[in-house]
Symmetry: D4
């Protein structure tokens, strides 16, 4: 992978057999990095695990993150996790946004970032936001990913308080008109706070990869 | 008018002749209240003014508010403006929201409210918001109308700070996806701040009438 | 909670473990009010109930309202239900709107309101509407919440008949174009009846909290 | 024209030269009925009038209805207006809906119907609705066309009161979300009043032709 | 029921207990007509059947139409099915539209119409359309209901061939953009064939009731 | 231009100066083909004509097609119009679709096709469709472009009658829901007639280029 | 079947009994071609297989393609598969697009085409695209079907590289705004690469039938 | 201005008098930076220029950029333009995207960036893209802004070729479905190329401010 990002396969929309072929194919390649299977349901993971026993016997490690819905297939003999590219902050408005934030976290860490998180700091927790943000800035995060659903206004609040680039991830939280992330996406795109760009609804993956381009070019 | 609200005619979508007929018809009725012609362009007002000279001769007063785009036709001999129902606050995020706020203000005042305004306190002016809100609360406003476009997050901010009912008026400010008030409307409907209800995009009129129902039942 | 509203957790979108952590965390706080878990499916409630036995042993009461899909966790030693803030009316057009009305009712009562209800008075039952409304007005309701799906016109009818503020709650009833609450929401926002503001589709919770701001500032 | 409806040309989207060719072509055909040019702006009519002088010399009559925006080209020697197919009622909610109602009226009359109208009976004028409807029913209208914008609820009200088929024509009146006839169309399609079918927004023409099919098959 | 239409309850969105209460309530009323429970899944019907044994013992008949998803609760001692109001034609484009057509058929028959059907005559079967239509016209149908999904063009074809009013029912058949009945609805509303009005997507019920208003006023 | 298509510049969205630079730049290139400026308003053409006098002096020919809104800049010394690639049919439903059809015609002819047209054969003119289609097929057209607005059903009708590929061009004709080409586009995409593919609304240009790929690979 | 395309029944939206009737009816017709049941779930196929045993006994062959979700019912004594009409290329962007591509492949082959495929050549595999395309062109494909989801840009890339007509099939791959094929469809319709026409989202069937019209008229 | 960005006023939606008040107010503040008036039509600029003569007399410089539609009000005695924060690349697909690119360029330069541009390199000019990108990378741009309309695929192409963060700006270029920037926005949000985040349609301003946060935190 030319740009040094983790190799990621989107499980959603692929059936069991396709995934097996892709994974086995990848693991026979020499010097390959970690392989990430994203948006993998727990049940689908359990089925995969059974059919990938031979990989574990060959020294591969299967590590499933239940919140992030990501399976990491690694092989210690092959590549080492490096986290010295720089720091990324990840913030969520509520509890429901955490799965997307965790997806971003796993991708960012696999891509070589150190990640600082602060979850559930929107609305009711807004008083907890300020010290958390202050700490992140002091620790030197080079960019902050904000995952927020419903009206998604946390993104603007954060962008108004910090100078680093803020990456908005609207999450599919909320019902009624503007629900499922639409109001959050529209709001982030309409925001008049300085220094926001967005990725698609629930795209924690894309936010993390974008954040990695920032810190990798930042050195 | 049973509920004691000002009689209002929406000029938009009516031609010159229709308006003349409606106005003349209304002014021949006995003991009628003030008549408000809303969403009346300046040019259309000028044309009307010429053809309503006979009303001025009969003691009617034509008062055109250029920002609010409202013509007030009053007759001192007939009704007195009373403002003792209670106080209403009106806030805007930016300069572009002011016409809608002024529409609300005229309607509210004509309906018997005392109005306190604080314009252009969103985003850049957020530091000016707190003292203004504090003042409104101290003065005893019974409800606050918030006019905001783009992402419309000011409504949530205000609702998070005060205990009185907050009436959100999304304004048709902003371009691109979610523009023309859509993001603001969606955001206000998705807001998780307590105590918000909304009227349609640019409906300063409806917000004022709703505010009047609150203060009139509040005595 | 600064504004004196009931503390409410939206179960939708949170998994079992998240809910347990939130509930347990809340119940260890001193002098906390009742805790409401909203939009909680019966099955999820049953699972929670098992894992919250220890709370019941400590004197907490778990009261699940199946229509409203709300779990009320209360502790007699801690807070008393007060209903002396004032009266709120709640009306539905049909039978299918009742769950949303019940959500509003539970929230309003927990927030200190006395609630008068009149369900299924739209369309076929319109002849039952007039005496019911008259009774509510006579009893002194300070605001009326109208839950209506399909075309949602009941809201306008009510607003045309009463002088108190009317809060429209479009419900996700109806199929085809404009279904799932869209026609009702659009219709309420387009209504030319005086004195209507709206909350989002199915947002009985938000309507009740807004109604509470009206009656609490009404005293 | 096989079905006996008036021959109508939609001027909108056609340029001056196209219209001239179509009109001249039609008028050279023998025994042709009246020709209707619909959605013709006054300015465009004035230009046409000049270039159609030769038709007037040949005994054709050009009659332009400014509200309906229809030009009727008739020739007394050729066809007689018959109105003995039956009666149609046409109702509007407000003043702004009248142009669409007038379009329907001209078409219905040209197609041989007797038309009873009652305009501006929605909202404020609802008390005038009942006697007007009663009169129409007593006069024996076989169907009623209801033109209404904004939320369009008048259609349901009428359908709930009469037994004849009600044809809903949403009009492009209203601004904000659901404006330009969308809320009215959605509401009419979602209506639970019995006996409503709809035509497209502002399609007074289509409503009249449909009404004609009802009365013509009714004899 | 004033207008003589069958009393119909929409099961969709009501739970088992609500339905039981409504049915039992209705059947204790004297001289009530047949009761129709529409959009009732087979499973839900089976559950109802068990809990309505007492009605069958009292002489009520429960007749479930699996295609139409309608349960008819009748009582021979009470009302007689009359079909002498007139004839209605019902046509479908494909096999998938039949459930909606059957819903319309049951309602129309219960309301006193004689129904002639011709299914699956669109697209591939267009050659079968002409003789079927000719037969319907010859038999004297006073109106034709056309149920069609996908692009819904069958409605225009029929309206172009017959002189009676054509009622379009877009069905939720078709996938991709314009699927689920949207293209069919839009197409029917945009049709330039003379004599079409429409009801909402899948609203076989509404089409039948509308057709009944035509034939009942036709006598 | 590698594929042998005419070089086309979309004037829409470019200002006068940009167009001058592009045209002058192109005409100084050796052996360049004809240059087509599409979607050029008459007024803009007149302005261009003045500033391109020097081209005419150098032997260039400026030919403006008012219906198609295309300016063809050719130079006899440079390239010859060849029409021997094959035949393309172009059909429109109404008069309002002709500008789009003409855009397609000019592009197709400039690209080397022989074009057969048949305009205004939809709806009222459907009886004229059959002989026209028969003639096109007999003349050996290799593909037919159908331009249709409103419900756009003509495309399906044609595709059901011929065996050659049918290219649907929805035109922005029609008002109300589904207007401006939406119903036509959705209908063409939902069509179950065999052998249809579509281009975007009003994209006569794209349809012609696609047709050219068919005939050029057909030899 | 006049045009020589395979007879196809869309299983989606038809119940088991309907399918049985259609299949049995078709197979009793003399000299009928192969019958294709499309969009048939594996479970539904298994149920059908049991109830179609009698067909197998009569010499019919049931061949279910699990990726394409198509059941082919053939009878060797009746028709022979011919593939001499010409060659069609089919390309997919990712693994998730393969089912749609396979649907197209089965239909194209049944219709008499020879099909060349190249799957998963978008994004990561773009370097594999060029040689694959070159090979297709060299082999003489007369048209290329491109199945792509998400942003669907592969279609433009292909159209920019080859001279044959490119048929775009947006697939319902991708989440968030523009997901489920919308961005792909919009992008293909907006593409400025020369020589693209599109079918609806996931309509592999329609793409194949259109491709067949190209090659059959190409001989 | 805390973050060191240029102070910018959006002229769109503000009337002449509002702008005068804002500008005069700003210019009386001490040590203020340059003031930028964005989205200012040439005509509005000319009117402003007349009423701001007094500023020019006080040493202010009014510099209007016609492509970018930005007026820069600077005062040499007050602030110096610094461009030493780092380099930003700006690319457009076509000529029509240049105004948005120029808006971004002015903002970026005023904020202290050095800007490298490469316009009109999409579609036809794709062969010019590679050397231009290579040059930008070699010069050390820290981020690239890509302005593209229609399908907007240029953004993905660029992101696939460079390692720096790519900021997508969909432009409102293109007609029909997905036009006015919608397809471009959706496509950029759906892109699977690594390292893209987006701002709203035509938001060159927001893209530039975001780019500035990247380079300012990059030092
Ligand atoms: N969770 C995710 N969300 C968005 N994109 C993803 C995700 N996981 C993988 N991708 C991207 O999707 C592209 C297509 O995935 P695949 O279909 O697995 O080849 C990959 O190259 C990844 O860059
Ligand atoms: N500016 C406005 N915005 C919204 N509604 C209005 C406005 N002005 C008047 N109205 C309402 O619109 C209704 C219809 O107006 P009219 O068409 O004038 O009868 C009136 O009864 C008013 O309640
Ligand atoms: N009328 C038109 N409709 C659609 N696309 C066009 C039209 N005219 C030109 N184009 C295409 O639009 C692309 C971009 O045009 P331009 O902005 O002129 O470079 C050109 O390469 C043409 O392929
Ligand atoms: N998978 C498919 N996708 C799109 N159209 C199809 C498919 N399968 C069959 N069709 C078409 O859909 C039409 C209606 O199908 P049916 O309802 O089976 O008569 C048939 O005539 C086919 O042309
Ligand atoms: Mg910031
Ligand atoms: Mg509050
Ligand atoms: Mg009221
Ligand atoms: Mg009725
Ligand atoms: Mg007809
Ligand atoms: Mg064909
Ligand atoms: Mg090509
Ligand atoms: Mg990159």
């Amino acid at each position: 992978n030319r740009t040094g990002f983790p190799e990621a396969i989107l499980a959603q929309g692929k059936d069991h057999d396709d995934l097996l072929i892709i994974i086995n194919g990848y693991c026979t390649k020499k010097n390959s990095n970690n392989l990430l299977i994203t948006r993998l349901d727990k049940n689908d993971y359990n089925r995969l695990k059974k059919d990938l026993k031979h990989l574990e016997e060959k020294g591969y490690n299967l590590d499933y993150n239940n919140k992030a819905k990501i399976l990491i297939i690694s092989n210690e003999s092959k590549n080492k996790l490096s986290t010295n590219y720089g720091k990324i902050g990840i913030i969520t408005g509520g509890t429901s946004d955490i799965p997307i934030a965790e997806e971003a976290k796993v991708i960012a860490e696999q891509g070589g970032a150190e990640v600082l998180t602060s979850y559930d700091v929107g609305v009711a927790g807004i008083n907890r936001l300020f010290p958390q943000l202050a700490k992140m800035v002091k620790e030197g995060v080079k960019t902050i990913i904000v995952c927020a659903g419903m009206e998604g206004a946390l993104t603007s609040v954060v962008a108004g308080l910090v100078d680093v680039p803020v990456i908005g991830v609207p999450t599919s939280v909320g019902y009624g008109i503007g629900g499922k992330g639409k109001a959050a996406l529209y709001g982030m795109l309409q925001s008049c706070a300085p220094g926001i760009a967005v990725v698609n609804i629930d795209n924690g993956f894309g936010a993390a990869v974008f954040a990695l381009t920032i810190i990798k070019n930042n050195k």
